[in-house]
Symmetry: D2
Subunit: 431 residues, 4 copies
């Protein structure tokens, strides 16, 4: 029997802080009312938001130097589902789970789908993995996968991606995210055009295997694991390839995959304008692909991204529908706690962006009034919408304070007992 | 007769929004009270804050490509004082003005001091300029000033700095900030050690001329105007030089003068720890030394800097006393408006940092509870302390909404009439 | 009478070093022969290379802080032509000159064309300028030009570009390069999609006015003069816009206009692959758009760019024909000297790339032999091809050592007398 | 019986290319003679150069995503010694080996020392490891080691470092390099000053345990494994700590551990000037701590570093004596090949720097002749000194072409048979 937090427990915990929450909520309602905004509409909007969880995010991450595992880590996809369900139970904003193959491969995908559904979860886009060698895999990806010189290696990588589509289809997914590490560590190692030609050729085969209602998401990344020339390194390459492939190919923006100083919200605006914005991997970073918790380093940037998303909806309506997912590495925190607080951070940016006075903004832009345009965004960003998010959670059966509730439940202690570490699992890293 | 905003006008403007401010203030008081914090103590603390204005900040800035002047720009130091006085009148946090020579040179510094004092202003640290050739200057700084190969050029630059000290002493200043552009554009142009030896030799002469109660501030900058090897390029060089020179030499941190991805708050912590943190030039940037308005790009970073300053006070008390100044380039806004809103942004970060629950933070740090430690900072940062700042202003005779009040006063229109543009002033830039 | 270096003088200077050059050339011939390469074929190839000069490059550049003019600076387009002709006379690789309007506007373009032709020069693509306000211009570009909110400002900027096309047509140019500084300094100042929509709308009008044999080059730049969101900030945006506009629109790559750590040679490969590589502005940089002399900071990167260009020719033959131009700011050197040595640096990279053993490279790539592939490039790069370049110059009537010959000619002293400084020209910069 | 390449084999291989080498050497001798330089003096200088090998460098590296092992990887320190000996046998420039504990721990250090000596090797500085948990270690370094909050963890880390000193002393080492990953992933996780105070306290204990003729090297790194605030992140912190600790503490510069755009040669010059330059970890990088092969990305930068080292020797003579070591991650190449070619790249930069015409350089610097100063460096850098390095190797019994000789020897095939992979060794990485 696996432990899950009882519903009653959440309610009891909420009861302890509800009066304070209501008071804060009422205070904020007054502030917003004096600005002509209705808090209830925002709370409703918050309740409709969701961001998917990556199945790998419930395990402790690491670096090439080391991994320091925590207690009670999930050992298979079913245990990952339990952790994801707990995140969703307390936050009410993470009903989707994104699986990664072969890490999450199971013999019985239908059973997995049923269990997930029973936990209130569904499966978001699936992820292929050709940046590692799977156990028993005939050919190595050491020198590339979809771009490999060796046609047999490319065929193996293509087959794996098509296999992911089929598995995902059984699970109810509607998209395949392809991130690959292919690239060169040395000038000269690759013919740069040749590598991209092979990539496009491989992707065309995968594209042809997509069900009619699926999308394929191209995820770019500046560097790592390739350290000189990553084949899909920037949004320009991603966009050009998505254009080559066709309407079912879209670009995925991971917030940590850009060159220093890059204006990420402009990339969002560009992809939106040209009809190729597929979705997001949310996280934060200070140096590279640090995969830190969303909003932990630069929360204003996250807000500005959502300000563009708000603009996209305003312009394109329901046709504007990128997918949202967390993609983080939790090295020094309990992954469940990081996922909960990060999902809320993303939701926070969404509601702050909803608070932008768009009429005033448009007016200031028209008047070249840069200062007041900037202040209009800042006013929305500075609003502490925490009570809105908490109230939306409580009303949906979630926790007023998810981290506090989770700690009080001693969920992790239960898991530490239920899930003894797998022998041989190493924390030694790769140097 | 120069136009200044009448005191009554400010009071009348405040009267229009005071009820709303009081309501927001009361709502915030309740939120803070539920967290165990007294709003009045914070409002008092806000009222005690100040940040100096750079005299050059009241003119429109530009880039090497162009400068697009605004209307009614100040044409001399006395008109700059009027603009600075207006910023202080409405914000109540900018009583200090930092002059720059020879730009602000006047025949009668005593008269200047009296006029400034009459406006409620005093003079903060003075700034020397050896990165341009002044009219009539015998020798050129094209190839350096304090580091020049030519001893006569160095002597001229040293004399200018000593002259600044004397002038500043008459004006009531207590510090000299030395930023120089000296450096190389080509590998080989400078012997890197030789250039720094000459710098130290020159600075020792200036140091020797400091009054006993003065400090000299070393301001580093990664690049521009030198584009390959700036002599004082980073905090390490600044720190080593300040150590060589002696206790009256301190390091000045300009937020825009660092390499990409630099953790500026760590530099603050390091200089504080080793007793060499002299002060700040506040601004914000996305790419380089963009000199954007403080807090406009990454407000959380500004908060984290003030979190270190809070820690410095907690550790070292009154001995910890760095100077604060704005240093921004206002290219597309009215400089008075940018200075007002930026001064308030800096004050905002100061009060947000004051809100940090330091006991909880220390506890979480001790427990290696990274998530809750981060949340503790975020809670303080997310608090919208705007009503505290506004109330502090109103109580001190300033404006509830300085930008709105300033616009309503038509100050700029008055200046446009009083200050017709100087013939020959160019906006053409340098390419 | 304007001084030009006599042809005899060059021959006399060459005579002094010809024996040494011949000995070095013979030694290199032997080295290359032992690798199976014929030096004469390379010398012929070097003699066929050219890179255009920017007319503004013959003046001393500056930064926003200052400009330190040199002696004998050209005061108008005719004097610029003299300096460009001197660069070409000594290097034999710079027959093209790229003009910039309104800086180089003349009443009699036909006369200008004849004078240039008489000097052995022709006119490369022309450049429009909507990043500054020209004297007498009715509307300001302070808040943008082709992207301005105000339709009248956009119309003015469009008309200027079309005027440049007409002027260029008279001068014999075949292309228009459009770099604009439009962008925002504050989050919120621009609606990011709206700005690009206006850009595309404006560019479509200019595109429609192009003669049938013209190209329009879109030049992107990450930042400066805009410091938060430049409308045409990266190659992705440039590529998307060139695609929108049509086959006569191409992308121009300036080596200094990218985010830190960007792999520029990959951008070259991508634009080549997708048929949108229009040309280059060559320079070098360490920090930002430093506009340093080509190859002065990272000569290997310049070689890698030319390795891609070599690959483009190998794949696409004569259809692959990007334009080459220098675009540098000479702040501490004599501009004529910097242009001469930079043109030679670019030519050097071209010949080094021609030295790559392409069969071996392809073989190592096929074998995933990263080390030997890298060594194959390095061997070409390490070859000191200086004697080839010098011999090509001497054979074409240029100087064996252009800088030494130029100095010996005292060209600059002549110009200092011929061209007294214009009164009022300022070196004060913009801060 | 372990296979080592027979000395006769090397001689036979050399014989095949000696005539060509001699011809290239003679050609270069002529070129240098015409510049007034004696090739024999340079060949002698090349023969005296050495750079140490990291014991971990002979294994295949990886990233957090995957490691793709090669064949015949060494499984213990004795096998690593064989590989290092082979690198030295063929290149003659790598007699020193730097060990890493506990990775290279052995029960019988005296035996290890004797075997190494018999192979012509000695032990360079030793490296401690507190960024991973060793098997059986009582306390975890998850939250830091020398800076940990928990005094017991700090004590364990201090004891490990002192143990390394004792072990190194037995092995003949004279230095301890301390790189630690300690830092924070979240703002607030660490009190920044507190962490550095604990670091200094821990280091003082280690410092006190150093033998009188030992040095301790402080290695800084901007980020990774810590992603927000690394305690020893930059040269400024390293310098301040080395100053605090005393004369036996020096700073170590790893070329990959800096912020983007950092001028590394200036850091070298600064540390040299202030007497704290301890040594180097050589590698190259394009993005972060990529640990690519030395000189593979920016060979001119490596030359500029050696130009500063040349200047240091010229100024300070024998007192200027930093240690040199490679520190690279070989992910897609045979590690022995990468180490050989990298050691030669470093030696190449050393000899190119020796070629600098220092009198001319000083003269151009004195005259502010930036262009000719830059050309003076470039002339040295452009000289293909390959024949000097090859001749120095051949004369010392090494290989004219080490990679070709190594491949011909089939050393790796021998090792593939001798060293079957260890069961359970994983290539799966950490995500």
């Amino acid at each position: 029997m696996t432990y899950l937090i009882p519903r009653d427990f959440v309610a009891q915990e909420n009861a302890r802080s509800l009066a304070q929450l209501q008071a804060d909520y009422d205070a904020l309602a007054g502030v917003l009312q004096r600005r002509g905004r209705d808090i209830e509409a925002l709370t409703t909007q918050a309740g409709g938001f969701s961001v998917a969880l990556p199945s790998w995010g419930v395990g402790t991450g690491g670096t090439r130097f080391a991994r320091f595992p925590g207690q009670g880590e999930p050992r298979n996809v079913f245990e990952k589902i339990d952790d994801c369900a707990t995140v969703h139970q307390l936050t009410r904003v993470t009903p989707g789970v994104s699986l990664h193959f072969p890490w999450d491969r199971t013999q019985d995908p239908r059973a997995l789908r049923e269990i997930a559904n029973a936990r209130g979860l569904h499966f978001d886009s699936v992820n292929s993995n050709t940046f590692q060698n799977a156990a028993g895999q005939p050919l190595s990806y050491k020198y590339g996968s979809l771009t490999a010189q060796d046609a047999a290696v490319r065929a193996q990588a293509i087959a794996h991606n098509i296999d992911c589509v089929e598995l995902g289809n059984t699970l109810g997914s509607k998209g395949l995210t392809v991130w690959l590490g292919d690239g060169a560590n040395f000038p000269g190692q690759h013919n740069l055009r040749g590598a991209l030609e092979r990539y496009l050729s491989s992707m065309r085969e995968i594209y042809a295997a997509l069900p009619s209602d699926w999308l394929i998401y191209i995820e770019h990344k500046l560097f790592e694991p390739a350290f000189y020339a990553t084949t899909i390194a920037d949004w320009g390459t991603s966009f050009a390839c998505a254009t080559e492939l066709g309407p079912k190919a879209k670009c995925l923006v991971d917030l940590g995959h850009h060159a220093p100083n890059t204006n990420i919200e402009m990339i969002v605006a560009r992809l939106a304008q040209f009809g190729k914005l597929g979705g997001f991997h949310f996280n934060d970073s200070k140096y590279g692909d640090d995969d830190l918790d969303s909003g932990s380093i630069n929360p204003f940037q996250l807000f500005l991204v959502f300000n563009e998303l708000r603009d996209g909806v305003a312009r394109d309506g329901a046709a504007f529908n990128p997918t949202y997912m967390l993609d983080q590495s939790h090295n020094v925190t309990d992954p469940v706690e990081s996922l909960m607080s990060s999902a809320i951070e993303v939701q926070r940016a969404y509601i702050q962006a909803a608070l932008v006075d768009t009429d005033a903004l448009a007016h200031h832009q028209q008047e070249n009034d840069a200062l007041m345009a900037a202040q209009t965004l800042k006013q929305a960003f500075r609003t502490d919408v925490g009570p809105i998010l908490a109230m939306a959670r409580v009303r949906a059966g979630g926790a007023a304070d998810p981290v506090a509730c989770y700690r009080a439940s001693t969920y992790r202690d239960h898991k530490a007992k239920e899930r003894p570490p797998v022998a041989g699992a190493s924390g030694s890293g790769i140097v």
